[in-house]
């Protein structure tokens, strides 16, 4: 039971860290990195809740979700970086 608890902590920690950084930083690259960390945190929390401590196996459907999440994340990150390069890294929102 404790393994997925540990990774729940890790996931929640990553999410909190990312949200904190999103709220406090102006630099474009740092914001993109924070969004990546946030996505990874969410995937970790998702997989941890799909992990069955008794059998030691994880429900394949959340694994598919995590995989899809990773691929979506890399494409959005590539788009964000392409845009960030052209506006000189200063995001003004």
């Amino acid at each position: 039971m404790t393994t997925d608890l540990v990774y729940h902590v890790a996931g929640a920690g990553l999410t909190g860290l990312a949200l904190w950084r999103l709220a406090t930083c102006r630099d474009a690259l740092r914001r993109i990195m924070a969004l990546n960390v946030l996505a990874i945190g969410i995937a970790m929390v998702l997989l941890a809740s799909g992990f069955d401590a008794a059998t030691g196996r994880t429900d394949p459907v959340p694994q598919a979700f995590a995989l899809t999440g990773i691929v979506v994340l890399v494409s959005v990150t590539a788009a964000l970086l392409a845009l960030a390069e052209r506006i000189g890294g200063r995001s003004n929102d």
Binding site: S49, G69, A79
Partner: protein
């Protein structure tokens, strides 16, 4: 080949073809948009004739596989996207649009991807699938925003994409919590979610993500810059369609959630009221046409989510039909308005409101289309906006919810105020215009804007059709 599967895959295929070769982009794009409109009509006819259908993709039953639910609401939304799409495609096909810094043929793949994503979103009955469709929609919409290639547009596109990604991740967090709480992620799980505490938190997270993507009041900061700096064709699509997808999903969840989703609805109604006042206030003070229309989108999105929030959760209540009709009328009118603004800015060379009454230019068809679109945005009869507000206020009076009635009227008055600022300048004549002033000659953009504006006007007369469609739900 059922219409549902075709209407979802055709735009994606066309997007690939148009992305592959810029030379063939325009004709293929036009044909695909027209074919999509035909398919949408066929789909609506099938739903009217045979009632709602559920198609399981790959033959796998609901919790394991993904299901398409083509009920009345989905058919109406697909029709909306198709018709607005045709008009926008007509304006985009007018090849004299200014040579943007980026590849001019790039509009078509992005537009067709948006269309395909929206059709998939309206049909999907699975929370995670909604997340993925939102991602396509977000990326394609950002592409449309960055179409002009100016530094301001790229900055707005970056803010839009980072806000959109944050919204999607909130949505994904909600879906993950829904999976953790209820073990599955298709829409049939929503009623079960409303009981448990975790379920309610997951719904709250999902609604927060949707609020960011729908630019609902507290989380709308990215939207005015994005919609006002994009190319007029793109901002027409962004304001009229892309924003609606998030509201549609909120409506779908509130319907499935039934009574349990009451606190979320109250939050939406409150945010909606705030958006109406905030959006109208900024629209009143906007100095540029595109900014005014973008802020009016914030206000109208507020009105729609207010209509959605006050609709009672009871299965039999039909007050949410008013919200759908308001969405329809806003989609048509706002798209017409942005196309008209595009044409006006093209003729005048700028879009400052103060500089609207230029000496040597007589008001043309675009100004008239703007005025007609303004009428249906304000919600005066015989437009669909009026019928939507009528049904909404009648429902509210039945429940003696007088505060909401007052708010809806306040919204109407404010929208009349900031729109008449512009429309009065559209009716210049007499001493303002030099005798030899030329009248801008008709272009594809005028036809599209006028067509959409008049259809928004006449939709009020024909609103029996959407109401008939909305009656059909998956039993």
């Amino acid at each position: 080949m059922t219409e549902a599967s075709l209407i979802v895959s055709l735009p994606l295929l066309a997007a690939v073809v148009t992305a592959a070769s810029a030379r063939v982009a325009r004709p293929v794009g036009l044909i695909a948009t027209a074919a999509n409109a035909a398919l949408a009509i066929l789909l609506a006819r099938r739903v009217l004739a045979e009632g709602a259908q559920v198609t399981h993709l790959g033959g796998w039953e609901a919790p394991l596989g993904i299901a398409f639910e083509t009920d009345g609401l989905a058919a109406v939304m697909i029709l909306m996207a198709a018709i607005v799409g045709v008009a926008v495609a007509v304006q985009a096909s007018d090849d004299r649009t200014p040579r943007s810094a980026t590849d001019p043929g790039a509009f078509w793949p992005l537009w067709l991807a948006t269309l395909g994503a929206m059709n998939a979103l309206f049909l999907s009955a699975d929370l995670f699938n909604l997340y993925v469709t939102f991602e396509i929609l977000g990326l394609a919409a950002v592409g449309l925003t960055a179409l002009t290639g100016t530094r301001r547009a790229l900055r707005a596109a970056f803010d839009y994409l980072s806000a959109g990604l944050a919204g999607s991740l909130l949505l994904l967090l909600g879906v993950a919590l829904a999976y953790a709480a209820a073990g599955q992620v298709d829409l049939s799980v929503v009623p079960a979610l409303t009981e448990s505490a975790q379920g309610r938190i997951s719904l709250a997270l999902i609604f927060a993500g949707l609020a960011v993507k729908a630019a609902l009041f507290p989380l709308h900061f990215w939207m005015p810059a994005a919609h006002s700096s994009a190319a007029p064709v793109a901002s027409a699509l962004l304001s009229a369609l892309v924003v609606k997808a998030a509201i549609y999903v909120a409506l779908r969840l509130s319907l499935d959630g039934g009574i349990g989703a009451e606190p979320l609805r109250v939050a939406m109604a409150a945010a909606g009221a705030g958006a109406m006042l905030w959006g109208s206030w900024h629209a009143l003070r906007a100095d540029r046409l595109k900014l005014l229309v973008a802020h009016s989108t914030v206000a109208q999105v507020g009105l729609i989510s207010l209509a959605l929030g006050v609709a009672p959760g009871a299965a039999d209540s039909t007050l949410w039909h008013a919200a759908v009709l308001l969405m329809l009328s806003h989609a048509f009118a706002k798209a017409a308005m942005f196309l008209a603004v595009g044409r006006i800015a093209e003729e005048l060379g700028h879009d400052r409101i103060s500089g609207l009454n230029r000496e040597e230019l007589r008001p043309g068809a675009a100004e008239f289309a703007f005025a007609v679109a303004a009428v249906s945005l304000i919600g005066l009869p015989p437009t669909a906006g009026f019928v939507g507000k009528w049904v909404l206020i009648e429902g509210l009076i039945d429940r003696d919810a007088w505060i909401w009635v007052a708010l809806v009227f306040a919204g109407t008055v404010l929208s009349a105020a900031y729109l008449s600022r512009v429309v009065s300048r559209c009716l210049r004549g007499g001493p303002h215009v030099a005798p030899g002033a030329r009248r801008p000659q008709w272009r594809a953009g005028d036809v599209a804007a006028l067509g959409l504006a008049v259809s928004a006007l006449l939709l009020g007369l024909g609103s029996a059709l959407p109401f008939a469609l909305l009656e059909i739900t998956v039993t």
